[in-house]
């Protein structure tokens, strides 16, 4: 059975584990995305910001999978993220289609802002 054997690294000096590092990155991405959804005005930037939030959530799941690894990393979060990536891109495509319609129908590319 072609399951790759994981190289066991020694648990000597307590440095940050890989999954912990990427867990922190995941938190960072989630918060960058969340702030940008509120602060960016342009519709395209808001869509990109939503994708960054999604990337943070996926990264969290995969780093948990790495933490729970025994011989192999936990395959359940992997499966969830694979389908998640494909579903997220379809949602983004839908959002882009909506943004394009808003732009075409109203000639504007952002909500709110200062009245001209």
């Amino acid at each position: 059975m072609p399951i790759p054997q994981r190289v066991q690294t020694g648990k000597g000096a307590r440095v940050m584990e890989t999954h912990e590092l990427y867990g922190v990155v995941a938190v960072g991405l989630f918060c960058i995305g969340l702030a940008a959804v509120f602060l960016c005005r342009h519709l395209l930037k808001k869509i990109i910001a939503t994708k960054i939030i999604g990337a943070g959530a996926f990264l969290m799941l995969i780093s948990i999978a790495e933490r729970d690894a025994e011989i192999i990393a936990d395959p359940v979060p992997h499966a969830m993220v694979i389908t998640g990536i494909v579903v997220a891109v379809s949602a983004a495509a839908f959002a882009l289609a909506l943004a394009r319609q808003i732009r075409m129908k109203s000639g504007q590319s952002e909500f709110g802002g200062e009245p001209k």
Binding site: Y22, V24, C31, A35, K51, A55, L96, L98
Partner: protein, 333 residues
């Protein structure tokens, strides 16, 4: 974790965070899109570092490839000045109350602190690694991720393929069928793109088939294969072989739905033999999964290509239409 690994991971982590920040903070939309594409690629490297090659494959094709193409195409629509109330309706300014940025940043700062503590103190759950490896012998495949996707949690996967169909329907609702007019089969005369497509497209179809077959025992499978197939379709469309428009409408609509439909068909079919919904007979699980995956690959690939066709089709429409944007032709098919 050795020091060298730590250095690589730290650099990658900084790069990911930096690119994400740049993608939303930079003024130019074009730079924003390019940073986001680079961000997708770096994320694919992070998946590889976290021992998730399946995810890395899907992310590299989607995050950097497909989404980049869609974003850059969308940039064209947003080029130029906003022209206020030029068209039928205007977004009412001032109807969207805005908090001062200071409060938003403060709130998110507190939130990120709480989240960080929660992540670092997360209790060990143990995960499902052991359970999924134990049941592998009965699943019909040898790769745990494929087993999870198409056997243990096939109900989830089935519905997620359904989401793709719904996303495509929603896009049609938003923009209509205008991008999908028939009879636009006109290969480009451009030497580079035509040669490129001739060389690459058959190879990519081959790679997609190989990934699909590989999913039985190694990283790969329907989603990765579908995305590669979609990329091949997009390259063909770029070179002017408009095969989606050349197909009759019912054919590509069935193509979009067949993955979902066959999954359902296989799930219900075996209920006649006293099995649960979406349960496969253990003796034939392997070959059944391959069939379900094949149709899913076809549907996913076609959906990805249709996203592209929708966006470029509308481009052709706006540049060819004499009325310009906001004309009567848009929005209603």
């Amino acid at each position: 974790m050795s020091v060298l690994n730590l250095i690589i991971d730290t650099l990658l982590a900084l790069l990911i965070l930096g690119l994400a920040l740049r993608a939303v903070a930079v003024q130019s939309l074009y730079q924003s899109a390019i940073s986001f594409i680079a961000f997708g690629l770096m994320l694919a490297l992070a998946w590889a570092r976290l021992a998730a090659p399946d995810v890395a494959l899907a992310e590299a094709a989607i995050g950097a490839g497909l989404l980049g193409v869609l974003l850059i195409h969308s940039l064209r629509d947003f080029a130029g000045e906003d022209d206020g109330e030029a068209a039928g309706f205007a977004i009412k300014l001032g109807q969207y109350p805005r908090l001062p940025s200071f409060f938003i940043l403060l709130g998110i700062g507190i939130f990120s602190g709480v989240l960080l503590v929660a992540v670092l103190q997360m209790p060990d759950g143990g995960g499902l690694t052991a359970a999924s490896v134990t049941a592998l012998a009965d699943s019909g495949v040898d790769h745990p991720v494929t087993a999870v996707l198409l056997n243990y949690r096939s109900y989830d996967t089935w519905l997620e393929i359904g989401v793709l169909v719904i996303a495509m329907l929603a896009i049609f609702c938003a923009g209509g069928f205008e991008g999908f007019r028939r009879g636009q089969w006109r290969p480009r005369q451009d030497l580079i793109i035509a040669r490129f497509a001739r060389l690459l497209a058959p190879l990519m179809v081959l790679v997609a088939g190989y990934l699909l077959w590989l999913g039985k025992a190694y990283p790969g499978g329907a989603f990765q294969a579908g995305v590669v197939l979609g990329a091949a379709g997009i390259i063909l469309q770029m070179a002017g072989w408009h095969f989606v428009e050349a197909m009759s409408r019912w054919l590509w609509q069935w193509g979009l739905a067949i993955g979902f439909a066959f999954f359902l068909f296989a799930g219900i079919g075996f209920m006649a033999f006293d099995l649960a919904f979406l349960e496969y007979p253990a003796a034939h699980a392997g070959i059944l999964i391959l069939w379900v995956e094949s149709f899913a690959t076809l549907s996913i690939g076609l959906t990805m290509t249709c996203f592209y066709v929708y966006f470029t089709g509308m481009d052709a429409d706006t540049s060819a239409g004499a009325n310009g944007k906001g004309g009567a032709g848009h929005g209603n098919a």
